[in-house]
């Protein structure tokens, strides 16, 4: 099954990291990504730019409305994701727990809907 691991953390805490801490963190992320590539779990993964770059778009009554900022103001923001292929939820939880941000942020694990199994 495919799962999307959504990485949430408090962006302001990330911004306040020292250069050395940030480098250590990046090194951890590279090692983690390398690990799940080797184990065959990796499908895709990206880090997102800061929330100040976010734009939210809605169409209402045919009219496009564009606003600055993320969809919802929350304590933790979506900062990146991994799309993984896992045997089952337990396997996905094991992978999610190894994402470096899991230690201070939160990882939301969501199965990707399989439309071939959706019943008519």
């Amino acid at each position: 099954m495919k799962y999307l691991c959504l990485i949430y953390n408090a962006e302001q805490n990330m911004n306040s990291l020292s250069k050395a801490d940030m480098d250590a963190m990046m090194a951890e992320y590279f090692a983690f990504t390398e690990g799940i590539r080797k184990s065959g779990h990796y499908v895709a993964g990206e880090a997102l730019d800061q929330i100040k770059t976010a734009t939210t778009v809605r169409v209402r009554n045919g009219k496009v409305s564009t606003t600055d900022g993320p969809f919802a103001e929350t304590k933790e923001q979506l900062g990146g994701f991994y799309l993984i292929e896992a045997r089952d939820l337990n396997d996905a939880i094991q992978i999610a727990a190894k994402i470096p941000s899991a230690r201070f942020g939160s990882i939301e694990v969501r199965p990707i809907m399989d439309f071939s199994k959706v019943q008519a």
């Binding site: 099954m1 799962y3 896992a86 045997r87 089952d88 939820l89 337990n90 396997d91 996905a92 939880i93 094991q94 199965p111 199994k117 019943q119 008519a120």
Partner: protein, 418 residues
């Protein structure tokens, strides 16, 4: 075949349903990969048995017969539905190509299936109330109405929890497996909690005309033993000890006419020595680990009671001390109430009453019949009859079990006569 013989087979089948249906279900879920499909197959297998066994006789291994009948019925049902829905063909073909279990697959596999079932029902990705509902429904076979009664909610709410849990199991890919060694300790906590709730449902059924349902408790104890075998964690030992020590008093807890008998009035000769010995040994193992949790502490308290030759000989000071430790480890108003009752036994009714009144004054346990019953008893012992009468009346209104209500009514009549 005579009417008589048919009745005999029906009787056997009823007994087999009670002892085997959950094991058969656990195996069918593994074989069919789906809870609803397995439940339907279980039902169909018993219907088939009801038709065939009176004619052909009861098979040598009823469980294996039922598993295999259930599996074939499920494949049949899928084939029938495939006529209307092409996606079912694939499922039926997958099921058929999976080798059927050996007819005499040994106990180990079956017990593994039951553990798979309980770890799946208690998966932390399910909401806590759904874990309990799923375990009682799937592992213990309680009806939705019974679960609703036990947890003071409506059958439709329980049914909805179960439906949602099953769809999460299916859609989020919660596997039907015992967790890997590294995850086992974490996952065990939620399982122990659920097992204890199940035990209590059988030991002190929340309502109805009988006080206990031995079969439900026996189920919880069996699960407790399995968990201890699998992983001798101190709290698993503690929980099993606690259940065994409670269970040891079952025969002495009610009179021949089903009346409730308090711990202090029980005939201790009727306590089950074997269960006590086993329970005490487990408590000692749990305490020796030095990783002492709430279940081990409650078991230690039960062991102090079990080892007292008479109610008067009970080491109340030790019990008060253990409740104190338990309150720090796992604070709750119910534990506080139990400690207050122990204080009343050790230091007299007045200091005990003071502690109970303090709990009620905080607005806690106001709807808990045992808090009012304990208070009534202490007021009675202090000769404060009108207040005692009022507290008994309150407890009677709140009591949900017939024997408890009768006991309280008897007490109320006794003080009326004074």
């Amino acid at each position: 075949m005579s009417e008589d013989a048919t009745d005999r087979v029906r009787g056997r089948l009823d007994a087999i349903y009670r002892t085997e249906s959950r094991r058969v279900l656990a195996t069918l879920i593994r074989l069919l990969g789906d809870f609803d499909l397995a439940e339907e197959a279980l039902h169909d297998a018993f219907v088939a048995a009801l038709e065939q066994w009176p004619r052909d006789g009861v098979p040598g291994s009823p469980r294996a017969w039922l598993v295999s009948a259930g599996r074939f019925k499920a494949i049949d049902a899928m084939r029938r539905r495939a006529r209307f829905d092409a996606s079912k063909t694939e499922i039926a073909e997958r099921l058929e190509s999976t080798p059927p279990p050996a007819p005499d697959h040994d106990m180990d596999d079956v017990e593994d299936d039951r553990l798979r079932l309980i770890f799946t029902c208690c998966h932390p990705a399910l909401p806590p109330d759904a874990q309990v509902a799923m375990t009682l429904r799937e592992v213990c076979g309680l009806r939705t109405e019974e679960i609703a009664h036990a947890f003071l909610t409506s059958p439709s709410a329980v049914a909805q929890r179960i439906v949602r849990a099953k769809s999460k199991i299916r859609d989020a890919g919660i596997p039907y497996q015992v967790p890997a060694r590294a995850e086992l300790a974490d996952r065990l906590d939620s399982v122990l909690h659920v097992v204890y709730l199940v035990f209590n449902e059988g030991y002190s059924a929340s309502s109805g005309t009988t006080l206990t349902r031995a079969d439900v408790s026996a189920e919880a104890i069996r699960l407790g033993r399995l968990l201890v075998e699998l992983l001798a964690e101190p709290e698993a030992l503690g929980l099993l000890a606690l259940m065994l020590l409670h269970e040891s008093r079952r025969a002495a807890r009610t009179s021949a006419t089903g009346e409730l008998i308090l711990l202090e009035d029980q005939d201790r000769a009727r306590w089950d020595c074997e269960l006590i010995a086993e329970g005490v040994a487990l408590v000692e193992r749990a305490l020796a680990s030095r990783r002492i949790g709430p279940y081990s502490l409650q078991a230690a308290i039960a062991a102090v009671h079990a080892e007292a030759a008479t109610a008067a000989a009970t080491n109340w000071a030790q019990i008060i001390g253990l409740y104190g430790v338990l309150l720090r480890a796992d604070p709750s108003a119910v534990v506080e109430l139990n400690r207050a009752v122990a204080v009343a036994m050790h230091n007299g009714p007045a200091p005990g009453l003071e502690l109970i009144d303090a709990i009620l004054a905080r607005g806690e346990l106001l709807g808990y019949h045992l808090a009012h019953a304990a208070r009534a008893d202490l007021l009675r012992r202090l000769g404060r009859v009108p207040e005692a009468r009022e507290a008994y009346a309150r407890a009677i209104t709140l009591a949900r079990q017939e024997p408890e209500r009768r006991f309280l009514e008897r007490r109320l009549r006794e003080i009326e006569g004074q």
